[in-house]
Every structure is written in C-alpha cells, then in structure tokens.
C-alpha cells in the first residue's frame, strides 16, 4: 500500500490486454458506484467502453420526473402514517428502481457520515426531511451540505442541540462536527470544542424547525483552530471546512467507501483527491469521477477489497436477478444484521469493513438470503428463477453456477467449487426450480460472495 505511486493511482485507467475492460470490471464498477446491475446492463457497459460508462454513471442517469413524483408520493404517505419502519422500505425501493444509482449510493454514504437515528428522533417527517437533504446535496457541494445538516432538526435533536444556551453550552454537536463530519479525531483540541460550542448557542428546534434564539446566542469573541473573532455558527463551520484536515478526511472516507476497506490509504495517496476537492470548492462529483476513472479503482488494490454492506448485498442480488418481493420484510431483516436504514447504530454510522462480519451476522446474511430466495412473495423477473435464467439463456445448473459467480462474486468461485455446489443442489431435491434456488443460496452463503 505504501508503495503505490499516487501519480499512477489517479491516472486514467485505459483498457489493455493486461488490464482489460470486461464483464468483471464492469460488474465491479456497478457494484461500487451503485447497487449492481443486471446482465444486460453489464453487457452494454462492456460494449460501450469504460469512459462512456463512467460518463453515464456520473452525468447521464438522472431520474425521470415521473419517478421522482412517484417517490415523493410514496414518502409523503409514509410520513403522514408516521411509521418509522416504512421509511426504510421506501428507500430500498428507490435503491432498486432509480436510474441514478450513484446518487443513491452516495446518499447512503452520507447517511452513515451524518448518522442520525430514528430511534432517538422518533419523527418520520424529520427523518425523511433529513434523507431528502442528503440526497439533494449528495454529489453536490459538501460545504453547503454541512451548513444545511447543522440546522437540520433531526440532527439537532439527535445530538441534543435542540436547546443550546450560552451559559454552559452543550458540546456534543461541536465535537461531532469536527470529529465525525469534517476533520477526524486528532485534528482539534478540547479547547477548540469548547470554543466552537459557543458559536452554536441559541440554535434551537421549535415546531420541528430550526430557529435562531438571539437571546441564547453567545455573541462574544471565540478562538479555535487558528482563528478568532465574533464568529457565528455558519462562519465557524466555514472555518472548520477551510482547514487542511477537511479535504483529506473526506477523501479518506470516500476511498474507504468506494475503493477499499483496508489497508487505510496513506496520506500521500489521498493528497491528489484532497487537492481536487479543494480545487472544486468541495463539489463531490469531480472527486468521484476521478475515483471511477482511476487505475487504482480497477487494480488488485480495489477489486474484491471491500466487504459488501448488507444493503449492498441484498439490493445487488435483487437488481441482478430482477427480484420482486415484500420489501418490508427485507428492511426488517437488514436491521437485524446491523444495517437498519434510518437506524444507524450511533453517531459514527456504520464502520463497515470487517465490522460487518461476525458469526451472528454471517448466519444472519445467509438466512436473510434464504428467506428472500424462498419467500412465496418473491419473483425473478416476474417469473420463476428457472424461467428467468432461461430467459437469459442459462439452461443448466452448471451454467447457472458460473453466471452467479460472475455476477455476484468479486472473487470468482473455483471450478471444482462450482461442480460441488451443483452436485449438492441435485442431491438435495429433484425439483429443478428448487435446485436452482438451492444453488443460488449456496453461492450467496460463501465468503467469495461477501466481497463487494
């Protein structure tokens, strides 16, 4: 890791014989920049070439107005029902159906970054309002997003900042702003936190809306992170983001989310991305483009170097096999294995990587997939799994094993593994549909499948 040349890493990837652009690379790009794709879309991506494919993912996949209207209607009705659990169902639906996969994938990134749990907020309106805010800014201006999230009622309630008075200011928001949102631990002092907290005094939530209470705001002089003055909350945020640690911190998190779980990228490797962020005035899109066009992204340092999140795992298989099912159950089961949308575990969000995996979540993942594959409400392209595969010219179990491996496993299954899986599916049942389902469940229970 330490000997990766940053210049090479961020140079534009070009398809060569040694490093081709093929189905494996396209599947990798679609898994990382979105939630995977069906066979047809991958084949079109291969034919069109990598540059065109990235261009499309970043610029040309906007949602149609009718889809946006459909989503707005759906979330409005859920919000008026007040059902917090249903929010996740609507979001899963959007991840499955949206044409703008990168946008949704990045919205999920920010949901983990500005983690706020409905468990504490207990208000569907405010939670959805925050979700819409994250979506609005997802691949736009990070500075604007931080300013907006800082006055977001759900966030203020979650970090206990709904009542912040000038005597004894509450330090929670100021701390997390620097530690988790902008700079990372170690880039500020306790004194910085105390001073910064003064800037946010008088920021309140009244009637589910942000309100500035000038009587509780500390208008005095503050000094933190090398600046001083009678700073307002907005000015303070702008200063925090202007410090050198900020673009590096965001670059590090983006690399971890889109490129590789481990090892942690050294600062030299992150520097070009951070520079780009700064140059773009924190517009996220250009940095993402740099990532998805890079040598690093298609190299051995990135391919199969991430563990799928539970949401990635489920939405990926559903998109790949055109699965329709009862999404309420899926959302519930995702929560059970540690990825409850709108219910992140704490203010740090999901750590990802190895922390997704333990004995309990591994069995939980396999059992979730079993329930999904075998549920009576599940269809594959509106039909049976066997018919759906036939439609894609997959007629035998052996062929299906290869298909599943190519589509869903970042590390391909060995030939002898595939034949063993086929044999055990045949031993298990004489019903051919059940054999295909058994084969699929075995594949998605293997370690190779857990890599994204």
């Amino acid at each position: 890791m330490n000997n990766i040349d940053p210049a090479w890493a961020w140079s534009q990837f070009k398809s060569t014989n040694r490093q081709p652009w093929g189905l494996t690379q396209a599947a990798h790009l679609y898994r990382r920049s979105g939630f995977g794709a069906g066979r047809g879309e991958l084949q079109r991506a291969v034919a069109g070439g990598v540059q065109r494919c990235v261009q499309q993912i970043l610029h040309d996949n906007q949602e149609s107005q009718s889809f946006q209207d459909e989503m707005a209607l759906m979330t409005r009705s859920i919000v008026s029902s007040g059902n917090l659990q249903s929010l996740a169902t609507a979001w899963l639906y959007r991840m499955l159906k949206t044409t703008d996969q990168l946008h949704e994938k990045t919205t999920l990134f920010w949901h983990g970054h500005f983690a706020t749990s409905a468990d504490k907020v207990q208000d569907a309106f405010m939670m959805q309002q925050q979700n819409d805010l994250l979506r609005k800014h997802a691949i736009g201006d990070f500075s604007e997003m931080v300013q907006a999230i800082s006055q977001n009622p759900a966030m203020l309630l979650y970090l206990d900042s709904a009542n912040n008075r000038k005597t004894h200011p509450n330090e929670n928001f100021a701390r997390e702003l620097m530690e988790l949102f902008c700079l990372g631990e170690g880039n500020y002092t306790e004194q910085d936190i105390r001073e910064l907290a003064r800037c946010f005094t008088g920021w309140e939530v009244r009637n589910r809306a942000y309100r500035f209470n000038k009587y509780q705001h500390d208008f005095g002089k503050k000094a933190f992170l090398g600046t001083q003055g009678e700073l307002t909350g907005q000015q303070a945020i702008a200063h925090v983001i202007s410090t050198p640690a900020a673009p590096l911190f965001i670059a590090r998190k983006l690399v971890q989310y889109y490129v590789m779980d481990e090892p942690a990228a050294p600062e030299e490797l992150l520097a070009p991305l951070a520079k780009r962020l700064r140059k773009d005035k924190f517009q996220i899109r250009g940095t993402l483009e740099m990532i998805f066009r890079s040598n690093l992204f298609y190299s051995e340092h990135a391919v199969a170097r991430k563990i799928k999140s539970p949401v990635d795992m489920v939405v990926g298989i559903m998109r790949g096999l055109s699965i329709k099912t009862d999404l309420t159950q899926v959302a519930q089961r995702l929560q059970e294995i540690g990825h409850g949308l709108y219910f992140p575990p704490n203010v740090k969000g999901w750590d990802g990587g190895r922390t997704w995996i333990n004995s309990s979540t591994l069995l939980g993942r396999s059992n979730l997939m079993h329930a999904l594959i075998h549920s009576e409400t599940t269809t594959f392209g509106n039909t049976s799994l066997q018919a759906h595969l036939q439609h894609n010219r997959i007629h035998s179990l052996a062929h299906a094993a290869t298909y599943f491996s190519d589509m869903f496993c970042a590390v391909p299954l060995a030939d002898n593994s595939k034949s063993q899986l086929v044999a055990s599916s045949q031993q298990e049942t004489n019903n051919t549909e059940q054999q295909f389902k058994s084969l699929l469940h075995q594949v998605v229970s293997l370690p190779q499948f857990q890599l994204g």
């Binding site: 509450n170 779980d261 750590d351 333990n358 004995s359 063993q420 370690p447």
Partner: protein
C-alpha cells in the same frame, strides 16, 4: 502478594467440583445439545475462572453513580442534576450509590462488590470512539491496534484448544476488545437465532474447499477473515442443528427483569452452568451519552444494569459458580463535573469501575477523585484501567503483558 488468592482459589475449586457433581442432574439440562457437544473433546477444566464484561456505552456519569454527598463543589457544579444525600444509598460517610441501584447496594452489603474509584488513563481522549478503542486495545491511535485485550489474552493463553473461548451476546457489532489474530469470539444475537437455514452441509463443505484450495486471489486478508469467520460460525451452528433440544429451559429460580441486558445475563448464567467452558462473556448496554435531560435516562439505565447484575450474581450463586465468576463493569469515560445548559453532562474523564462476584475483595478501592484538583475541568484518574485489566487477567491466570501492551502492577481487588 496478589498470588495468595490463587492457592485459595485452588482450594475452593475442589468445593466447586463437589457441588457440580452434586448438582449433576441439573447441570446443562435443557441446553442445546451443541453446547454440550462443544466441550466433549476438550481437555479444559470446567472449573476455570470466567470473566463477564458489561460495557456501559456512551460514557457513564460516574459522579451520579457514586455520589460524593459531602462535597459542596459537587452540588455547586450540578444545580439540577445533583443527587441529594438522603436520596443516595449510603456506602460510607461520604459516598452513596444512585438511588436506582438498590441491587448494587445489596451486593455491596453482601460483600460481593468492589468499587474502584477514579479509573482512567493519561492524556484522556473524550471522543467516544477513540476512547473506547483505547479501552478495547490498550493502545493509542498512533499505534498498530488490530486486536483487543481480551482477544489477545485468549490467543496467548489458549492458543488452540477451545472452540468458543469468547462469547459476545448482542446484536451490535462485535467489540474490538474481542478481536484476535484469528477470530476466536462468537457473536450470538440469541441462541434461537443461531441456526443456518438451507443446505448447511453443502455450504460448509464449499467453504472448507475454498479455504483449502489455492486461492486465485493472493494476500486478500478480507477473504481469509471471512473464510475463517464463516467456518467458525458454521461449525458451531452445525452442532446446533444436530441437536434436537434447541430451546433453552429457564432452569434457574432467580427472576430476571424483562430488559435486554438482564436477558443476556440470564443466558450467560445458563451457559456458564453448561459444559461449554467459555471463558469470557461480553455484553453491552448503550445509552449513557446523556448530553441532555440526563436525570431520567440515567436513572433508568442505572437501575437496569444494577438489577440485571444483582439477579445474575444471585443466579450464579444458586448454580454454585460464585467463586469462579467475576463480572467487570466499565464505560469509555465519565462525564464533565459541571452540568451543561441542557440539563445534561458532556464527555469527561475518570470514572468508577466495578467488579462483582464472590472472589472479589469487596469495598471501595481508592479515594473519590478530587473535584478541586482537576485537569481541563475534568477529574484526574488515580488508577489506570490497565491495572484493573492486569488484575483480572492475573485472576484468570492469563498473561497480561502482551495484551495490555506493557506491564501494569496489579491491585488488591481479589480475595
């Protein structure tokens, strides 16, 4: 000096063996067969000491847990949150427990509770995540820290023999304290859930084959990690499926509260009473990050862990394991001396730790941290948490230097 208790423990072990034989007809009754199977081939001594860790996540307010009711400074700093002297459950002339902790007060009365005051570490970090990582790994951010103190201790002390030396009960991610060079800790949300649906035999065979065959992808640490984790999970789960008795019968007579923590500790007591021979159990209780409106939340949480611990110790005693089980309670930091304007408290530093069980030297250890001689508005620590860890590991008869990243003097916390 501190070795004296070992010989005493050896002595007591005979007694424990006798009572286990006497209780032979009920030991493990109703437990899943897989748990019984799991220990069949093991050479381990079923009278080995057992550590149960309760992690209070979010930063427990030590000052309102052990209240210094003679201290005017405490009342000045906390105009709305201070607990009045007559409300506290008196420990001595100066200190009282939070009024919700009657069960803890009873343990104290019964001589089975050690309170270690003012525990922390130098240059305290007030980030939840960084401070918790420090407690979990005994290392700072600048140092390599992939493994936890418990995971490392088990790796050193029990390099091969046991299948489930560490059990984490809970739906949250596995605590870093349990991470080991090769995964040794099993996480279980509930015993009933720990069962694979589908063709587990075929899956297990395919996992084994994938592990054995020369992988096309070299040096993928993530793949290795998932492979060994999957093998371990399937191994335990397969044994569970073999069994017919999957329902754990509540064979104790002690009543536990209907809280998640109490239920986890009840399962822990049942498993300790089975032949499973797990050495460390780990449970957490979240919600201690009380920045606003602290009083009610802290009251509920304090009552929860106090009651759960009280029932657990009674249960363990009733099952005859009281000498070999110690519970350790900690939080990543205490809270600020001064309350804030939201009727809450912000992140602080030193706070009390607790050890419970018949083996511990009961009482209040150390002085209450001064509220006048402070640093950055926070309490100074008197004991390093690694001293407590070292003492507990010593009681476990495990080496501590590697896991704790140094030699820490033990404290007289055990009989």
């Amino acid at each position: 000096m501190h070795h004296s208790y070992i010989s005493r423990r050896r002595l007591l072990q005979n007694t424990a063996t006798t009572s286990a034989i006497l209780a032979g007809s009920t030991v493990g009754a109703g437990l899943p067969q897989f748990l019984l199977n799991a220990s069949e081939n093991q050479d381990a001594d079923s009278n080995d000491n057992v550590l149960v860790v309760i992690q209070l996540s979010g930063g427990n307010d030590g000052l309102n847990t052990i209240v210094p009711f003679k201290n005017d400074r405490y009342y000045a700093a906390r105009p709305t949150l201070a607990i009045q002297q007559d409300q506290t459950l008196k420990l001595n002339d100066e200190l009282g427990l939070h009024p919700a902790m009657t069960a803890l007060a009873n343990l104290y009365e019964a001589g089975t509770l050690a309170i270690i005051q003012g525990v922390g570490y130098p240059n305290p970090n007030r980030s939840h995540f960084e401070s918790m990582d420090i407690w979990h790994t005994c290392r700072r951010k600048t140092q390599q820290r992939d493994h936890g103190w418990i995971g490392q201790s088990v790796t050193t002390a029990l390099p091969t023999s046991q299948s489930t030396p560490i059990l984490h009960l809970g739906a949250e991610k596995q605590p870093l304290a349990l991470a080991a060079p090769t995964p040794r800790a099993i996480s279980i949300r509930s015993l009933e859930q720990f069962k694979l649906r589908g063709n587990q035999q075929a899956i297990a065979a395919a996992v084994a084959q994938g592990q054995a065959s020369d992988p096309a992808e070299k040096n993928n640490g993530l793949l290795d990690f998932i492979q060994s984790s999957t093998s371990a999970a399937l191994k335990t789960s397969t044994e569970l499926i073999k069994s017919t008795a999957q329902d754990v019968k509540r064979n104790g007579v002690v009543t536990y509260a209907d809280t998640a923590l109490a239920q986890k500790l009840q399962t822990t007591a049942q498993l300790i009473d089975s032949p499973l021979n797990t050495r460390v159990y780990y449970v957490t209780l979240d919600g201690f990050d009380t920045h606003a409106q602290q009083a009610n939340a802290h009251q509920v949480l304090s009552g929860q862990w106090s009651n759960a611990l009280g029932a657990f110790i009674a249960d363990i005693k009733q099952r005859g394991h009281q000498q070999r089980v110690t519970v350790m309670v900690f939080s990543e930091f205490g809270r600020r001396i001064e309350e804030n304007a939201s009727k809450g408290t912000d992140h602080g530093t030193a706070a009390p730790m607790f050890l419970a069980g018949a083996a511990v030297k009961a009482g209040v250890h150390g002085a209450h941290p001064s509220l006048d001689d402070i640093q950055q508005g926070d309490l100074k620590h008197a004991f390093d948490f690694r001293q407590v860890y070292a003492t507990v590991l010593d009681w476990m008869e495990w080496d501590s230097a590697t896991a704790l990243n140094g030699e820490y003097p033990t404290l007289p916390l055990f009989l």
